[in-house]
Symmetry: C2
Subunit: 201 residues, 2 copies
């Protein structure tokens, strides 16, 4: 048994998210996006409030980005709210999806789609006395990657093309945890095609 699986911990990554199109035909937009996304590599379950994806990190991020892009390419003003999580004690169900290979299924179909996003993210490294240093380091990383927008209470503002923002988020989610501090939560809120973004890029 590999070390990552000890202590009831699993390397499975989860994302609980909602997509909110601010439009009367919100159901069509969400259903349309769902039809275009390839969810083969993740376990997925929806309820009346949100949807959860679970699987390998690479596939969870790939699927989430595709879902957002397929919803936002309709031109509708769309909000995305997500909580990424890994290493929650006792989290193991659905580990079968960890057997998938690393070939991303959505990226080839969305690579060329450009989309400006304004977003706010927060990191919660659990049970880590040094968590504020971890957070400051990741904010510095956002600045280095060119996606940092502004400092604010309870979050950090990120913006830019969705591919750059997602690259940073996945990189940050990888670095803000360690073998010693496995349980990490990252929240992200995105605003897309907002009337207040007209002319931004």
């Amino acid at each position: 048994m590999k070390q990552e699986f000890s202590c009831g911990l699993s390397p499975i990554v989860g994302l609980r998210f909602s997509i909110h199109p601010m439009a009367d035909h919100f159901i069509d937009i969400i259903k349309g996006a769902l039809q275009e996304v390839d969810t083969t590599n993740v376990w997925m379950h929806s309820d009346d409030v949100s949807t959860v994806l679970r699987g390998k990190q690479v596939h969870v991020f790939d699927t989430a980005k595709a879902m957002i892009l397929h919803a936002s390419k309709t031109g509708a003003h769309v909000a995305f709210n997500g909580t990424f999580s890994i290493g929650c004690p006792g989290d193991s169900a659905g580990d079968v999806y960890l057997e998938k290979d690393d070939l991303v299924l959505n990226e080839p179909h969305i690579r060329e789609l450009k989309q400006y996003v304004s977003s706010q993210f927060a990191l919660y490294p659990m049970n880590n006395p040094d968590y504020m240093s971890v957070i400051y380091k990741e904010v510095d990383r956002a600045k280095e990657r060119g996606v940092f927008n502004e400092s604010m209470h309870y979050a950090s503002g990120l913006h830019g093309d969705i591919h750059d923002v997602f690259s940073f988020l996945e990189e940050s989610f990888t670095h803000a945890r360690s073998d010693e501090h496995k349980h990490l939560v990252m929240t992200i809120n995105m605003s897309i095609n907002s009337p207040s973004h007209k002319g931004t890029i």
Copy 2:
């Protein structure tokens, strides 16, 4: 200097939130709600992604609940996403709002408004080795208060009338922190007037 203010910590409570009406006239719904809410007792700032409220706990919860109710009484399908926070190291700006008295300004105007909400909440007690026990205890509290809906990955489902759900959330936010572990984050997502709730209450 009171103990609560030591170590750069402050008893100020913050909430970063967004309200997403799934309707073409989302701007009118949000602006209408903002006009009806009394925000005298909180510091408030909005950007292109979210709005932050800061002040005494009682006023932050009162203002947030009023904002949701005024938006949802339009009948629109509305999603609310919020992150409550207290005790973040270094958090002190805006402490002037802590001088307000405890008289809630919105509750008298919204008390009679009934509204079913389905929601999902998560607690992140920071730098607390015993955080999982804190979370389990609050889930038990939700069951005792009659607002627990279901267990799920990365959150717990709550539902019922918004007043009962908010009472529980404020009670839980109070009890999941301690003098030793002051930094607490609580996320909450609500779905209101969803087409899938028809006939729920």
